[in-house]
Amino acid sequence: MSGPSDFQPTNPVLKWIERRLPIFGLMHSSFVAYPTPRNLNYWWTFGAILSMMLGLQILTGVILAMHYTPNADLAFRSVELIVRDVNYGWLLRNMHAAGASMFFFAVYIHMFRGLYYGSYKEPREVLWILGVIIYLLMMATGFMGYVLPWGQMSFWGATVITNLFSAIPYVGDSIVTLLWGGYSVGNPTLNRFFSLHYLLPFLIAGVVVLHVWALHVAGQNNPAGVEPKTEKDTVPFTPYATIKDMFGVSCFLIFFAWFIFYMPNYLGDADNYIPANPGVTPAHIVPEWYYLPFYAILRSIPNKLAGVVAMFSAIIVLAFLPWLDTAKTRSSKYRPLAKQFFWIFVVVCVLLGYLGSQPPEGIYVIAGRILTVCYFAYFLIVLPLLSRIETPRPVPNSIADDVLAKTGSKAAPMVSTVIALVLAGGLVAASVQNARAAEDNTPPSQKWSFAGPFGKYDRGSLQRGLKVYKEVCSNCHSLSYIAFRNLADPGGPGYSEAQVKALAAEYKIKDGPNDSGDMFERPGRPADYFPSPFPNDQAARAANGGGLPPDLSLIAKARSYERGFPWFIFDFFTQFQEQGPNYIVALLTGFEDKPPPGVSIPEGSYYNKYFPGHAIKMPKPLSDGQVTFDDGSPATVQQYAHDVATFLMWAAEPHMEARKRLGLQVFVFLIIFAFLMYFTKRKVWANAH
């Protein structure tokens, strides 16, 4: 379709170049004059959105790589230093982490759109297969990227996923050793994953070029599914498609920015704020949300090899779609049965995703098996069968006819959707009942000054919390990511430079070696970090009855609890993110002298209502009157808990105020921009209708 261009530059320099390298003509014929069907809807803007996301991921990724250290001992800390110390590091990291999710979100819409409108059918098979390859590369890239922060989920995700290959008969174990570069996941694994995580996006970009090339040869599909026949069926790519894509992109950016500035941890896992520990597996290993449906398929098959094969087949089957669905009619708009099954399939995928995030027990396993069968049945039975038995409705003669007919019927009865949604709702509700019955130790929600889009830390509370930490917590817990200088940072406890200097000087810091090779102690400086109470983990364990008091710098982000359906959906809109501090308060106030009847606590442990398993090694740390505040705040455990939780939230995210402030500015900008884009788009398209 994009044949030789008749584009002729007039500028003599451009002319000179064009004669030798016809790049302007190529650009012009591909992105300016290129005819696009005039009836494309907004689902088609996801191609442009994906291109932008790829570019953005590469850009932010290259920048993060400037500050990241791919070493098992340093990686976790280097990511924290990016977020805490690098100028706008928190922003870049949020963009990259949320960007991965947005990339997958957009690619899923793009794929479902292709599925619905039959974009994989002749002559677009190669285009579709290239898309499947991009998707596979994306999954590999996303997985390896998730390993890099080297938290608990990174480490155990890497262990579980690489172990998938051990299912291969005979050579499986050797392959896994080869992947690891060792006898377990370790530093060599991290290094190679970093290298490959940097490489793969450029491979993706290469395949994207092929994908776009194939697209420009076959031409775009469109909602009517009929090929353009005359000039009247198409509009030039620029300005029409460009402006529409840009409007789509600007709307997508609003959605994206919500995650970056307001819900940065919504899609992540709290466990990944705990540094990787090869000795302890988290209770609940869950991959990133975009792998969940496949994870559910893997788990629903009770045989290792078969499970792995099923999981990979679930992706590979997509590549065979053009030959499984042989119906002549492309668009599901004109296929009454295919359309219903499409929506059922969408619901199946969403439910599989939900199941993938739940523990593999009870009703979840059975539901998982049923849905796995449904998933494969859609491709292997429903689509081939429908191609034979379905009578499609007549398709419009041309795209122009389709555009004219648009004003007609719109209220297509979505009976199937309704049925499917009811079914899904029932299933989810059942599983929620299941989960509810099990436990009722959810920490009660507290009021926090830093909650919500305009939230700010309460300076008094931060200063009191620091006092509680210094006088009580610091006897056992380190705070090793916080430097004294941070106490004077904007958005923090608000001490002056001089106060920080004085505070730092109270501490003895180990330094050295000096010229004679000895370690020595000196008074702290603002640049020093809070010293740890124990020289190493072993000493800390020995002094605490075998339990390791965790570092508190990230504890407010590393602790969370299930909100359950439907709360996790409301949380997205209400910006609820205070699970961490809620949990800290609950834990500090949840000690009970006597365990309730029927609960036995082992020797050396204490009963706590909110601690998972209830047996905690830490004795009740706070009691009324233990710490006196200068500002007259009540000396109660409740007050201590609230203040120290506020302080620890700040310690976990010192730039929260900057994040929310910048977020507001970005939102105002993006909303105005989207409006402008909308009206510009309307004006431009006024010519085309």
Binding site: V32, M66, R485, A527, T680
Partner: protein, 182 residues
């Protein structure tokens, strides 16, 4: 299609001005947004907060440095020469005609009054950044092995390609035997 820019496609029908205003406003908004996005992308290359904090002033004890000796300490990743000059070195530095120098500076202006024997300079050649060797060269000062610049006992450039004297870092005497650099 003529392409290139939306504005050229205007059919100048009813409201040409209102339409143009919309296009210009949208374009301007996009441009402002693009530039604002660039800011954090570039700003992240500057030294991070930990690096800046680590560049705080340091204190150096001068007692171990005998006459005619020097030590090298690091401040902000830069080598700092602290030289306890001999009488001869000081005299040499002060006897040269200031006007004849490439980068005219008196020796007095390069040391702290009352502590004339102490020369504190950043040991980075002003040519292209190599570290000159102390007590070498023809001027009883520093010699840069890279391209042969020679500095005198006051750290001033005397010969070779370097354009400027060795820089004096900010420092002060906290006591007679202790200085604070930075």
């Amino acid at each position: 299609m003529k392409g290139l820019g939306i504005v050229t496609t205007a059919s100048s029908a009813e409201h040409p001005t209102r339409r143009d205003f919309l296009f210009v406003a949208t374009g301007a908004f996009a441009a402002v947004g693009g530039v604002a996005t660039l800011w954090p992308l570039v700003s992240q290359m500057n030294p991070d907060a930990a690096t800046i904090a680590a560049g705080a002033p340091i204190e150096v004890d001068l007692t171990p440095i005998a006459q005619g000796q020097d030590i090298k300490v690091f401040w902000r990743g830069k080598p700092i020469y602290i030289m306890n000059r001999t009488k001869k070195q000081i005299e040499e530095a002060r006897s040269v005609a200031v006007d004849s120098l490439r980068d005219p500076q008196t020796d007095q202006s390069r040391v702290k009054e009352g502590h004339d024997n102490w020369l504190v300079v950043i040991g980075i050649c002003t040519h292209l950044g190599c570290i000159p060797i102390a007590h070498e060269g023809n001027y009883d000062g520093f010699f840069c092995p890279c391209h042969g610049s020679q500095y005198d006992s006051s750290g001033r450039i005397r010969q070779g390609p370097a354009p400027l004297n060795l820089a004096v870092p900010p420092y002060q005497f906290v006591s007679d035997t202790k200085i604070q650099i930075g």
